[in-house]
Structure formats: C-alpha cells, structure tokens
C-alpha cells in the first residue's frame, strides 16, 4: 500500500496556502503510518481547530474534527473506549499550547497511548496572523505590531516535564528524519509528542522579512541544531547562537502508559 491510498484524492488540492508546511507534515505522517502497516479501518486521526487541523479531512480514514483545543480530550475518549484503535492527533501550536494547554499537560501526565503531531508555525495562521504562545520574542504579528515582548513556549520541554514517553522535534525541511521520528513515535507505547516547526510564509513570513518560501525554509534549516551538537557546545562552554532550536530525539523513557492496545 502506498500513501496515495491513504489520501482523499477527490478533496485535493487542499486549501493550504502556497508553500505551507502542513502538506509536507501530512505526507510524512502518512508515509510513517504506511510504513507501520496499519489498516485503514483501525486508524483514527483527530484534530482540533486551525490550519493544521484541516489535515484529517484529506486522509481517507475515520477522523474526528473536534472543538478548539480539545483534540486530546476526544482522543482520550476514543482510546479508552476502543484501545484496539491506533490514534494519531494533529494539532497546531495555537490549538495545543494556548487553548488546549491543560488537556496537553494531562494527556502527558496520564501517558495516553496516542501520537501527537504538532505543526508549530509560531502564529495563528487561519484567523489572520495573531501572535500565539509560541511566537518568538521580537516577531511581528497582527496583535504584536511592535514585536512580541513575551518569552515563547517550548512545547517539547513542557511535554518532557509533564511526562510524555517519546518527545522529538524536527522541521518541515527535514522530511526523512521527520518520517523516522513519527515511526518511532507510533511504535512507542505511551504518549509520543513530535513537534514540527513548519513555515507559514503567508502570515508569519510576510511580516517578518521572510516573504518567500525559500527564506523561511532557509531560516528553519540554519536555525536547527542537532541535540548532540547542542550538548557538546554546552559541555565545552561555547555560546549558543541566538534563535537556534534543537532538533532530534529529545527524550525516550518507559513510564507506565494508559490505554495500551491489548
């Protein structure tokens, strides 16, 4: 089976803007699910509200498009009612970090056996570019016209602190690595959280001097730093360049999981 059989071909082309990274994340997730060899009848995709949450609409399986921020709450229900189903949750940063923050923390605490793919484009893309909890300091958005003055949320650190079993971060430029990370996450019992930094040239890039898609991809590529290199720089006491974020597998552990497939 190939990834074309997982897509609703009649729904394509999708509504995402030109150059949006969410389509890439859908490709990688479907490639990972396909590599796992799961059946379409046994896989459920869930999402909340937002650009990222349009994704299950283009996937030819059972899916739930739920209320804003409550995708993980619905996923808890699905997983506890039917532990034999495979559950994958698509969320965005506004969905997961802002309104669904507590659901996220408690899903990590319970260590629910789902895979969460968070498409973090650092802005509320669908509603017109308002600043989100993950907008980096100094970035200009509709609600922060003089530059954001707040520190940004690091979602992976939050997931690690709250107790997720597998946490990784990649960008939409690193497609092969992202696919491998999602496969690892799908195999791990317990909550697997994969944060994907995606580009949003329409709303984020336009107001932050990255109007072209290639500029945003270059930003993601040049500011991503592998975890071993980051640890080495810290150990040697060398300075970390401003604005870099770590990519790679951040944690893997074996806390007792909830709702594991019998």
């Amino acid at each position: 089976m190939s990834t074309t059989e997982w897509r609703r071909e009649d729904r394509l082309p999708h509504i995402y803007c030109s150059g949006c990274g969410n389509g890439t994340v859908i490709n990688c997730t479907l490639a990972a699910v396909d590599e796992m060899g799961w059946k379409r009848e046994e896989t459920v995709f869930l999402s909340g509200i937002g650009c990222s949450s349009r994704a299950p609409g283009y996937i030819n399986t059972d899916s739930l498009h739920t209320t804003h921020g409550r995708a993980l709450a619905f996923a808890t229900g699905v997983k506890l009612a039917r532990p034999d189903l495979h559950v994958v949750v698509f969320t965005g940063d506004g969905d997961l970090a802002a309104i669904g923050g507590n659901h996220f923390i408690h899903a990590c605490r319970r260590n629910l056996d789902v895979t969460v793919v968070c498409m973090n484009n650092q802005i509320y893309g669908m509603t017109g570019g308002q600043g989100s909890p993950t907008t980096p300091p100094g970035a200009i958005s509709t609600t922060t016209p003089y530059g954001s003055s707040e520190p940004a949320f690091d979602l992976t650190e939050l997931a690690i602190a709250a107790g997720a079993n597998y946490v990784a971060r990649w960008t939409s430029y690193h497609v092969k690595e992202l696919t491998k990370a999602i496969v690892e996450g799908l195999q791990t019992p317990g909550l697997a959280f994969i944060e994907v930094r995606t580009q949003c040239p329409t709303n984020y890039g336009r107001s932050n001097k990255m109007r072209e898609v290639s500029d945003m991809i270059e930003y993601l590529r040049s500011h991503a730093m592998l975890v071993p290199k980051y640890n080495r720089l810290i150990a040697e006491g060398k300075p970390i360049p401003e604005g870099t974020f770590t990519v790679g597998e951040l944690i893997r552990r074996n806390r007792p999981a909830m709702g594991v497939r019998p």
Binding site: R7, P13, C17, S18, G19, G23, T24, N27, V175, S214
Partner: protein, 90 residues
Amino acid sequence: MKLVIDEIRCKGCNLCVLVCPYRIFQEGTELNDRGIVTPVLDRPERCTNCRLQPLYGRLLCGVCQMICPDQAITWVDERPFEPHKVEVEF
C-alpha cells in the same frame, strides 16, 4: 518511470526546486491555465528514482515527493517504447 508534476494540484511554491539534488526542477516562467507558475523539468531522466526504481524495487531519494505540500509530484510507469529526447553532450 517518469516524473510528473500535477498541474492541477501544484501551487507554485518552488519547494522542489530547493531540495532536488540534481536540480531537475527549475523555476518556471509561464503562467498555466490556473494562473500559477509551475516548475519545469530539466532533463527528468537524470532522476535516480526514474532510472533505478525498477532495479531496486523501492523508492529512491523521493525528497521532492515528500516535501511537496500539495502532493503534486508523482512517478508514473512509462508506456513501452515511449519516445525520448536524446541529448548528446560533448
């Protein structure tokens, strides 16, 4: 195998131009029927997946297909004896 860009799905973001290691995708210059400048293929027979997929029986490279946000890049099987453009390089 033959590399094909779906003109209906492509939105002209030129991400494939960025990632192709052989620089097969080149930025286009002409608008298509939908008002979008789609990339053009420069000697697509150089693509490793086009040449070697039947030999290896699996997807090789495939980064352009993976990164394409609009799912517009595919490989299709060629019909037997399809005419090829031959270029002689000196």
